[in-house]
Symmetry: C2
Subunit: 216 residues, 2 copies
């Protein structure tokens, strides 16, 4: 299940070749990105199904699971930018979140998100688990560290901290488990003894790690 | 320096983003593969030079090093095959070897090769180091192991063993150090205690490993 067309989302497909059967679930716009890059034909279409999902239309995955994709604010993939200074943040088919439901429990997977709109807040209200975009702690973090010229906002990511950050936005949503994913290596929340980690945990957040398992 | 357009050669470029300055040396045909896949635009052309080399035309890399690309027998990348049973083995710009010269010493890097032609044998004669295609031990190895339906030949690789294998072909070439690279995980030469490893070593071959350094 692909939530976007950027390299960090789709490049892993290239390691699933050559004849490993699987199904790729994504919106039409994200499938179009794959279709526009012949290298992904290494995933032989005879054994790898490309399933096109419409936004807001749940599909059954079997085993009692359903998957729904929905738009979140984001930008087009980096390599599809047109060179302008600031590509627009839009909510469409190119950046999506996923809702996976089993019985009465719902899990959300949102690795890239530029803002939490009232619509998105409504979706997440009282969710059981939300995996959420934790790219940066603060918007100018990479600039301050001398790692790059872009803000988080410019990259299509909202930050963790601050009045317009994810921690504040989730404060009243009543989500049972909140887990940050997709951290950039500049994010101090990755350090277990940092004040930022303490602040995130005090607000009820967990920081994902390799091999993490969640049982509810 | 790219020796082909297949996934194992080019996918690593996607981890060198986003603004890391480097130069990509390849033939026109291999650059055409990158150009045909917009995802590689993530390597910003303002900081990543795409240098087109002609076959047989050495270029200076600085530091006294020169690089020359030359054609070796091979096939088009898997994802560019037209679906026919057996794509032709040809010697052209899509599968190449590299010769790197420093002073009087020459190193050859040939990770994919379908056959050693008299022309190629002539090139390699008395070379100091040759890194060579060690994909399979024997041509039907993946079929016998139940791992796939293809022979090595079908994939554009000659095998190590047998009368028409690499070990036999290098027997009289007088290469100072011969190192197998690009081994498939089905190749028993990877096992240090296998008879195949012993046979390769008895013929003067080394099997490459991560972190290997060669000093001459």
């Amino acid at each position: 299940m692909l939530t976007g067309g950027d390299v960090d989302v789709v490049a892993g497909l290239l390691t699933l070749r050559e004849r490993q059967p699987l199904a790729i679930f994504a919106t039409r716009a994200i499938h179009d990105v794959l279709d526009a890059n012949p290298i992904f034909e290494v995933l032989n279409r005879e054994v790898v199904a490309r399933e096109v999902l419409s936004l807001g239309a749940p599909v059954s995955l079997g085993c009692g699971l359903t998957l729904e994709l929905f738009a979140v604010p984001g930008k087009v993939p980096l390599y599809m930018e047109d060179g302008s200074d600031a590509p627009p943040i839009v909510a469409g088919e190119t950046t999506v979140g996923a809702k996976i439901v089993h019985g009465t429990q719902a899990l959300f997977f949102i690795p890239g998100c530029a803002a939490i709109t009232p619509d998105l807040a409504g979706r997440l209200h009282h969710a059981d688990v939300v995996f959420f975009d934790g790219t940066l702690w603060r918007d100018d973090e990479m600039i301050v560290a001398g790692l790059g010229a872009k803000t988080g906002r410019r990259m299509g990511h909202m930050s963790m901290a601050g009045q317009d950050g994810a921690i504040a936005a989730f404060h009243d949503l009543g989500v049972r488990r909140k887990v940050f994913i997709h951290m950039n290596n500049s994010n101090p929340v990755l350090l277990e003894d940092s004040p930022e980690r303490a602040e995130a945990e005090a607000a009820g957040w967990e920081v994902a790690e390799d091999g993490m398992e969640i049982v509810m």
